[in-house]
């Protein structure tokens, strides 16, 4: 055992001895009156404001039996309420759901018409149309470029002096 342990043990023993030799603290004189007053106040309470354990047996037994019956009734009522809530929600949501469904059907019809139109055009016509469109786009682009360069000549930067 180290000297540190010996010191700790000695201190522990001395403190224990001093503290256990201490007499009890005297309780305040008001304590007994407070307890008796509180007990008297509780005794004055009507039986229904006290704990169930102190209720008269003629009341306690029917109350406990009633509670036991109420438990399944509350379960049944909760399930019935939940079912009612679901059906009411469904009926309330029927209008907006119908509108959404109609909109979806409209979009589906439009897509079907477009697909039908594209499929009804001959394949050669589509290729020719694409080539013709590209050619017209290229020709128009060349004409605009030539016209722009003729109408708006570029400035002669060689005549500009830097200051």
């Amino acid at each position: 055992m180290t000297s540190r342990d010996q010191t700790d043990e000695k201190l522990e023993r001395l403190v224990s001895q001093v503290l256990r030799d201490q007499p009890l603290r005297r309780a305040p004189a008001s304590l007994e009156n407070r307890v008796l007053g509180e007990l008297a106040a509780r005794a004055r309470l009507p039986w229904w404001r006290r704990g169930v354990a102190s209720w008269p047996a003629a009341v306690r037994i029917p109350v406990i039996a009633g509670c036991a019956i109420c438990v399944p009734l509350v379960w049944i009522a909760s399930l019935w309420l939940a079912a009612r809530l679901v059906s009411i929600t469904r009926s309330r949501m029927a209008g907006p759901l119908t509108t959404l469904r109609d909109a979806g059907q409209t979009f589906a019809s439009l897509r079907a018409v477009t697909t039908h139109l594209i499929q009804s055009i001959p394949h050669e016509w589509l290729v020719g149309g694409i080539i013709a469109s590209a050619t017209v786009y290229a020709v128009l682009f060349a004409l605009v470029a030539v016209g722009y360069s003729l109408l708006y000549p570029r400035p002669d930067y060689s005549k500009v002096h830097l200051t």
Binding site: R4, T7, L11, L19, R20, Q22, R25, V35, E38, L39
Partner: protein
């Protein structure tokens, strides 16, 4: 009730260091005792029952401030045992060993009570549980939700701090008393 009220009140006040709170707790203990009057009255262990209820109710009261208590414990308690604590433990032992025993019983009781009340809560509660309620370290740690090492350190620091408070109250270690002899009671102003 009269036979046990001092014991119940002492148990509560030593833990709370607050006589008003201890009185509230004591009242609750006796109200519970009256609720279980038939069992308590016939039991030869009525005193033990009341003491246990008083301790539990007081600790429950303190547990409501548990977070704060734990915070203080974490902040002010240091796991390391430095040299200062070692030398302080030596001096503390001297205070309890010699100087305190020279006092009259009433004066000793008063000084010890005051020193205990002035200890910080994170030292006083485990110290009281260990020395008065004789709870093992591990049980105290479990009950207060603090690590075993911290409980041991808090209790050791509590003992040393208590000796320091006793010394501050004019009660020094024998060496100090020889160097600075206290004024005799007749000459104190």
């Amino acid at each position: 009730m009269r036979s046990y009220q001092d014991m119940v009140f002492s148990t509560a006040v030593r833990l709370t260091a607050n006589p008003a709170q201890a009185e509230d707790i004591s009242q609750e203990v006796f109200l519970r005792a009256y609720e279980s009057f038939d069992n308590v009255r016939s039991s030869p262990k009525a005193g033990g029952w009341l003491k246990t209820v008083a301790t539990n109710l007081t600790l429950n009261y303190l547990t409501r401030h548990r977070k704060r208590w734990r915070l203080f414990s974490e902040v002010f308690s240091d796991d390391s045992r430095d040299q200062d604590l070692e030398s302080a433990a030596d001096s503390a032992a001297a205070v309890f060993d010699t100087a305190l025993t020279e006092l009259e019983a009433d004066e000793r009781r008063e000084r010890v009570e005051k020193a205990l009340e002035r200890l910080p809560e994170h030292q006083r509660v485990p110290l009281v549980l260990y020395h008065y309620e004789e709870m093992p370290y591990q049980d105290i740690a479990d009950r207060l939700g603090v690590s075993l090492a911290k409980i041991k350190t808090d209790i050791l620091r509590g003992r040393v701090a208590m000796a320091g408070l006793l010394a501050q109250s004019g009660l020094g270690a024998p060496d100090d008393r020889r160097r600075n002899p206290p004024a005799t009671r007749g000459t104190q102003s």
